[in-house]
């Protein structure tokens, strides 16, 4: 499954082509990035009525709500994206207007894994998906003990 995205997909992420990344799954619409960051691959996590959202968390598109989503899984805010033995981390990409758009999960080798909307999973560097047009920049790191 390893390889590169089709060119029209890669062009959506201008940083990808000059950072390391590889495709790690087939494209599927069964789950999205917020689910994949939580290690789920069979449903969409999204605050709208069509998505799964953990009970008790406000169904709103704010960094506070997304933090609460992952706090239900034991994650807490953290100040760096470095690989730390004994911890796993999630990075939240936020647009300039403060809306969380994407989540990535750190792999044991320090790379990050992301589900790209309806497309494939990739392993990548955090900068690879930074893009003001779509996902924005990483504004929040969360971590939990393994």
């Amino acid at each position: 499954m390893n390889g590169k995205l089709e060119i029209y997909k890669e062009l959506k992420y201008p940083n990808l082509s000059y950072t390391e990344y590889e495709v790690t799954s087939k494209a599927t619409k069964a789950y999205n990035c917020f689910a994949w960051a939580a290690k789920e691959d069979d449903r969409w996590w999204s605050p709208e009525p069509d998505g799964f959202w953990p009970d008790g968390v406000p169904r709103e598109l704010t960094i506070e709500a997304v933090n609460q989503v992952y706090q239900t899984l034991g994650y807490e805010p953290c100040d760096n994206a470095d690989l730390e033995p004994g911890f796993e981390k999630i990075a939240i990409y936020v647009t300039s207007d403060g809306e969380p758009q994407h989540a990535a999960r750190q792999l044991p080798n320090g790379k990050w894994t992301s589900k790209l909307g309806n497309w494939e999973d990739i392993s990548h560097e955090l900068e690879g998906l930074a893009n003001q047009m779509f996902y924005g920049e990483v504004k929040q790191i969360l971590k939990r003990t393994l």
């Binding site: 619409k29 999204s46 709208e48 069509d50 309806n118 779509f134």
Partner: protein, 172 residues
């Protein structure tokens, strides 16, 4: 029933110039409101007047609300436009992870604007591959057959809507 010669030439005529919805009363024509001179209504099998050109224009009529009649696109045109919009929507939202972003795309909004006639096409797409059609279906129909525990599970949500569509007489 009065048939009025149209002001402009009618390009197309057919004895199937209307289509009854299954749920419509059989005698809907008797109670229909006066038609504009450009419209003609003929019962199935009724002889066409001589002045009608042979190439007919097909009008299909929505009877969802029997107080109003309005011509609809013929299915082939509707389907062509729908598929074009679906392609555009897929191409431009594939990388998005939030339902609210995906469904706000102009092509998706246009599909919602096409209204009840696209429901069979949406259900057909949903049957082919579960996708984020639920927002549009809710917006057009006002229904929501998806159970809370199915939220986010596209296959189950799609099945709930397909079942709903069949129960409500939609065919695709």
């Amino acid at each position: 029933m009065v048939v009025t010669k149209p002001k402009r030439s009618v390009e197309e005529y057919t004895s199937n110039s209307y289509r009854l919805d299954k749920s419509s009363p059989k005698d809907w024509l008797k109670d229909s409101k006066p038609k504009s001179p450009e419209q003609i209504w003929l019962k199935s099998g009724e002889q066409a007047p001589d002045w009608l050109p042979k190439k007919p224009r097909v009008y299909r009529v929505s009877l969802a609300n029997c107080n109003y009649y309005y011509p609809l696109q013929i299915r082939e045109e509707l389907e062509k436009e729908f598929m074009k919009l679906v392609e555009e929507w897929h191409q431009e939202t594939g990388m998005m992870s939030l339902v609210s972003k995906i469904v706000m795309h102009p092509a998706y909004q246009r599909i919602i604007g096409m209204g009840q006639p696209v429901i069979p096409l949406i259900l057909r797409e949903l049957e082919r591959e579960p996708d984020h059609w639920f927002w549009a279906l809710r917006a057009i129909t006002g229904a929501n057959p998806v159970k809370p525990e199915q939220q986010g599970r596209l296959k189950q949500m799609a099945q709930a809507w397909i079942t709903w569509g069949k129960e409500h007489g939609y065919e695709w």
